[in-house]
């Protein structure tokens, strides 16, 4: 049973990560720095619970805010570059943060045991959950409470005028600007919100694995973050969740017996999906069809 709870935990964590990229992607910006923002939340929240013996909840919020601040600072130079150049710039920034943690030492001795991040060795013994006697199921539930809150917040934001403003910028930033939308405010806000969510996810992730190191937040993680909203489509948040399940459960677990072939298939499947479903797994058409089923009427195909 623990295997399924573990699955549930991973899907929850990656949903948070995917939604952090989703918000930024709505404004047409591809951020490859999400793993970096996540690592800031992870390290800071971990240090707060381990070294400062703080409770997890405030530590998570501080981790999220710290990541948001850094994301806000990244958001400004990101305004000057677009498209592929932004991808390169954010990759560079993500790597910069990773290398920072690789060289980051801050250990204190408590009862003969050294605690805290130790450069390349990573940050071990983030034991808030085991110390408080949480079972795998408890942790899975906790992750999903956080993920649920993030999903609800992003969904609600998406439906409000703010979400439409983000989308307007993503569709045509020149037209958006001419319609009176302040691009700087919108793009930087999106980065900040995305950074906060990634930081929040990272702080949960650190406590869930109990051991983090710089390699957890490399370009593979950054790619995962951006793959989910791209694969799931930008119609609404459920596409991202669906994509997480598709990748983490179907591609990575169900195909596990295939061994090395799996990696090959992983790439191939993503190409197939992008080709045959260019608007993502959960496009506007699919969404309106589902809505049609629930409201008991036939929906036209022109969604």
């Amino acid at each position: 049973m623990d295997f399924y709870f573990g699955m549930l935990q991973i899907v929850g964590l990656h949903t948070i990560l995917g939604l952090s990229a989703y918000i930024i992607l709505l404004t047409g910006q591809v951020s490859m720095a999400q793993a970096g923002f996540m690592s800031i939340g992870a390290y800071i929240a971990g240090m707060l619970t381990v070294l400062a013996e703080m409770h997890l909840i405030p530590a998570m919020l501080i981790g999220g805010v710290a990541a948001a601040l850094v994301a806000c600072i990244v958001g400004f130079p990101a305004l000057r570059v677009k498209g592929l150049m932004l991808v390169v710039a954010t990759i560079a920034f993500g790597e910069f943060i990773r290398i920072f943690w690789f060289n980051f030492d801050y250990q204190i001795s408590r009862g003969g045991v050294k605690l805290g991040p130790e450069g390349g060795e990573g940050f071990k013994q983030i034991r808030f959950f085991p110390e408080n006697g949480w079972s795998t199921l408890d942790v899975a539930i906790f992750i999903w409470v956080v993920a649920g809150a993030v999903i609800a917040a992003v969904w609600w934001m998406d439906r409000s005028r703010a979400g439409k403003v983000l989308r307007a910028v993503g569709e045509d930033d020149l037209a958006a600007q001419s319609a009176g939308i302040n691009l700087t405010v919108v793009k930087v806000s999106a980065f900040t919100a995305g950074g906060f969510i990634a930081g929040l996810g990272g702080s949960v992730y650190a406590h869930y694995t109990t051991h983090i190191e710089h390699l957890n937040f490399d370009i593979v993680m950054a790619t995962f973050a951006i793959i989910y909203p791209i694969l799931g489509g930008l119609s609404n948040v459920f596409g991202t969740i669906l994509a997480v399940i598709f990748v983490q459960v179907f591609l990575l677990e169900v195909l596990r017996p295939l061994g090395d072939l799996r990696n090959l298939l992983f790439g191939a499947m993503i190409i197939v999906v992008m080709n045959f479903m260019p608007h993502g797994l959960f496009s506007a058409q699919v969404a309106s069809r589902i809505k049609g089923v629930f409201s008991g009427r036939k929906e036209g195909a022109n969604a």
């Binding site: 005028r161 307007a168 045509d172 958006a176 600007q177 001419s178 319609a179 009176g180 691009l183 969604a303």
Partner: protein, 249 residues
């Protein structure tokens, strides 16, 4: 209302706009015409702040907007449409207008949070009014990208209106329209004027320009070669030469 003073824009060695002077008066429909590449669209882009001028000044309503960014010029009261329609295609007609409610008045009326959440009920009801004005009320939930060409042009004008402008710059609103649509546009322009909105009309369709405008400025190679009422322009030799290509400058 809008004063353009010795405005220039050079792209490398090209003088797209060269020491241009003209003034648009409050409440009039002012036409800006000229052959292709004469600098009309560049002028619109300069006024709305898409790029800064090389030299010169732009004063609107007593406010210097020479180097203001697009959202600031909108805040000052200038809204625009684009020559090649630029709508938010994957958003509904209604949403296109909803996100465009960025007038200084709307910003002042509600706090930031409620603006982000959706704006006031009054603002939302005004969206319906713009839909009505542009004869798009029955298309409100249609995606903008799925509209017919003429409808998209009307939606762009409606989106400009949603910003409660004092002045609108329309960049070739009649391009690609048939005769009937042009006549409807003519009426809509007069309706804008009746609402007290000043119009700067950049247009190639001469029947419309001559019919609807109060005054016209003619550009050629970035310079103003004539200014006056439609009848004056029609009888101006320099304008005839520019359009027939008999004179090089």
């Amino acid at each position: 209302m809008l004063e353009i003073k010795t405005l220039s824009k050079h792209f490398g060695g090209v003088r797209a706009v060269d020491e241009l002077d003209f003034t648009v008066r409050q409440g009039e429909i002012f036409g800006l015409i000229g052959p292709n590449g004469s600098g009309k669209s560049t002028t619109v882009n300069l006024v709305t702040g898409i790029f800064p001028p090389t030299a010169g000044e732009i004063i609107f309503d007593g406010r210097d907007i020479t180097t203001a960014q697009p959202h600031v010029t909108l805040d000052a009261g200038i809204a625009r449409t684009f020559q090649n329609i630029r709508l938010f295609n994957n958003m509904t007609v209604w949403e296109n207008l909803w996100v465009a409610q960025n007038s200084a008045e709307d910003k002042k009326a509600t706090n930031l949070l409620s603006r982000w959440m959706g704006g006031s009920r009054k603002a939302k009801s005004q969206v319906e009014e713009y839909l009505e004005f542009s004869a798009l009320a029955d298309k409100r939930d249609e995606l903008a990208g799925n509209l017919a060409f003429g409808e998209q042009r009307r939606l762009e004008v409606a989106r400009a209106l949603a910003a409660k402008p004092k002045m609108v710059l329309l960049d070739e609103p009649a391009a690609g329209m048939n005769r009937e649509e042009v006549r409807a546009l003519d009426e809509r322009l007069r309706a804008l004027k009746a609402r007290g909105i000043t119009v700067l009309l950049v247009e190639h369709v001469m029947e419309l320009v001559m019919e609807v405008t109060d005054r016209i400025a003619v550009l050629n190679f970035g310079q103003k070669i004539a200014e006056g009422t439609p009848s004056e322009i029609q009888n101006n030799q320099a304008v005839k030469d520019a359009y027939l290509g008999t004179s090089g400058d």
